[in-house]
């Protein structure tokens, strides 16, 4: 049962991610990406990481994608106004990126040793366990520094958004 649910969610996430890339209309792209996020949130629930799942939905689907949609709607981008590239550009792009892929695979093929999968701990994703891990152990300093980083980014965004800065 678990495996089939995983498979369904995985297929949904891959298909919607591909549709997101191939959709001609940017608004459709954003909506497909939201479906991808839901499928991934479903995977988190399957791992009993409900906190992660719901934060994933709140942050990505509920906030970031809304802003994307907002900008797209305000700019009124659609397939008519989007510049279409000629076939020559598309073919040359495909060839160059394919060659890059071949080089990367050749260079890294023997270099990467994947670590063994960590043991599955069912209560890892519960909010109490997660909170203790972030605030009680060695992660507290990086966590707080990340918070300061976010604050700095927010202040920076507000400053950039202001038209005139009086120093």
């Amino acid at each position: 049962m678990d495996f089939y649910i995983f498979l369904t969610l995985a297929v949904i996430s891959v298909i919607t991610a591909l549709l997101m890339v191939f959709a001609r209309n940017p608004v459709h792209s954003v909506l497909y990406l939201i479906l991808t996020f839901f499928a991934i949130a479903g995977q988190y629930v399957m791992l009993n990481a409900q906190f992660l799942a719901v934060v994933h939905i709140i942050v990505y689907a509920g906030a970031i994608m809304v802003l994307f949609l907002f900008v797209l709607m305000l700019l009124n981008l659609n397939k008519d106004s989007e510049p279409q590239k000629s076939n020559l550009w598309k073919i040359s792009g495909a060839i160059t990126s394919g060659m890059l892929l071949v080089v990367m695979v050749g260079a890294l093929r023997n270099q990467i040793q994947l670590p063994a999968a960590a043991e599955y701990q069912p209560d890892r994703g519960l909010p109490a366990v997660l909170g203790r891990m972030l605030f009680d152990s060695e992660f507290v300093v990086p966590f707080e520094i990340t918070g300061i980083l976010f604050l700095a980014a927010m202040v920076g965004a507000v400053l950039v958004g202001k038209r005139e800065i009086k120093v």
Partner: protein, 344 residues
């Protein structure tokens, strides 16, 4: 390994029945809220209100439903067909999903079997509600954009920017409650407020912020700029007709019902009430008390709508960003101080 291997058929059937009952009650309350709204409006304006269909207009919601279903279902020529159809459904779906984590009561013993009156006791209950509240924007945005009408688009953009802005203050006011109770689960929150020891006595400012934000999240007056008739015709649902319009309007009442339920559970003790010992009666009286609280808050929502005039858009943004968010942060700091000094 996970929840799905331990599949319990009796539990599944119990949950299916519970979900159906909760869904039916949600729809019923939402339908009769439309009648209640007209009656309240009529009372405030010294009129009679609906009086023809049944006694005191009691059959009016059914008449409205029939009217909505039988009207012409018109679709604009240039509309984005699938999104246009999907939008009201998405809006309704999100509204109806939110009620899953609300504890309606403690336990009922039916045929010697204890039945928990909650669809899902998630340990992240309040975050689940915040998540679905934040998804409510999509129905509005899709509808407004797919209609291919500039007034609809303006309405959608207004509604969604308003909802994003007020979500922040709402989240911050909820954080204070979470700090105080030490849990994210709504059931746990309800258990921690026995008798009249409700959270409202500890979080009056938080409640005020939460309530104002709930008004804004439901797009209710005085924050109903999204459907400001004088400027925007009808807002994001200008181009909708028939039952698609009905879904948009109906989902607003479902949102109102669910927000009242959340307010009652988080700040007003949920199914708890003073003066009765937990006994067999408690299981039956709890849900009734909760519903009394919910109906009171639905009435307050209507009272505000028919009393206060609409805000201007810049006033709305000022209130959200420059008053409510700083107040919510102040409330959070005060709560932190309180927890530090008086924690058990």
């Amino acid at each position: 390994m996970s929840l799905f291997l331990l599949f319990d058929w009796a539990l599944a059937i119990e949950k299916i029945i519970l979900v159906s009952v909760v869904f039916a009650i949600t729809l019923g309350v939402a339908a009769y809220s439309t009648w209640g709204e007209r009656k309240v409006a009529a009372f405030m304006q010294d009129r009679m209100g609906p009086s023809r269909a049944g006694w005191g207009g009691i059959l009016q919601p059914i008449a409205d439903g029939v009217k909505m279903f039988t009207k012409e279902d018109f679709m604009p020529n240039q509309a984005e067909r699938w999104l246009y159809i999907l939008a009201p459904g998405a809006f309704m779906f999100v509204a109806a999903m939110t009620s899953a984590v609300i504890p309606w009561g403690t336990e009922l013993t039916i045929f010697d079997k204890p039945v928990t009156l909650q669809v899902a006791d998630l340990n992240i209950g309040i975050l689940y509600i915040m998540g679905f509240v934040s998804l409510g924007v999509y129905g509005i945005m899709m509808g407004g954009w797919a209609s291919n009408n500039k007034y609809s688009l303006y309405g959608a953009i207004r509604a969604s920017s308003q909802m994003i802005s007020y979500e922040l203050a709402m989240g911050l006011s909820v954080i204070a409650v979470v700090m105080m109770t030490g849990t994210l689960s709504l059931k746990e929150m309800a258990i921690q407020q026995p008798g009249i020891n409700w959270n409202i006595w500890y979080q009056p400012l938080g409640f005020l912020i939460f309530f104002v934000c709930a008004l804004a999240e439901c797009n209710r007056a005085p924050f109903d700029l999204a459907e400001c008739e004088t400027e925007l015709i009808g807002g994001y649902h200008t181009e909708y007709s028939s039952m698609k319009l009905g879904f948009f309007l109906f989902a607003e009442y479902i949102n109102m019902f669910v927000s009242s339920a959340v307010i009652s559970t988080v700040y007003f003790g949920g199914y708890n009430f003073p003066g009765i010992d937990p006994g067999w009666l408690y299981g039956f009286a709890g849900p009734l008390v909760l519903f009394a609280k919910i109906f009171f808050f639905i009435f307050v929502f209507m009272w505000i709508r028919w009393t206060l005039p609409r805000f201007r858009y810049d006033q709305l943004m000022h209130l959200g960003w420059k008053s409510l968010i700083p107040l919510a942060i102040l409330n959070m700091l005060l709560t932190g101080l309180g927890v530090l000094l008086f924690s058990k």
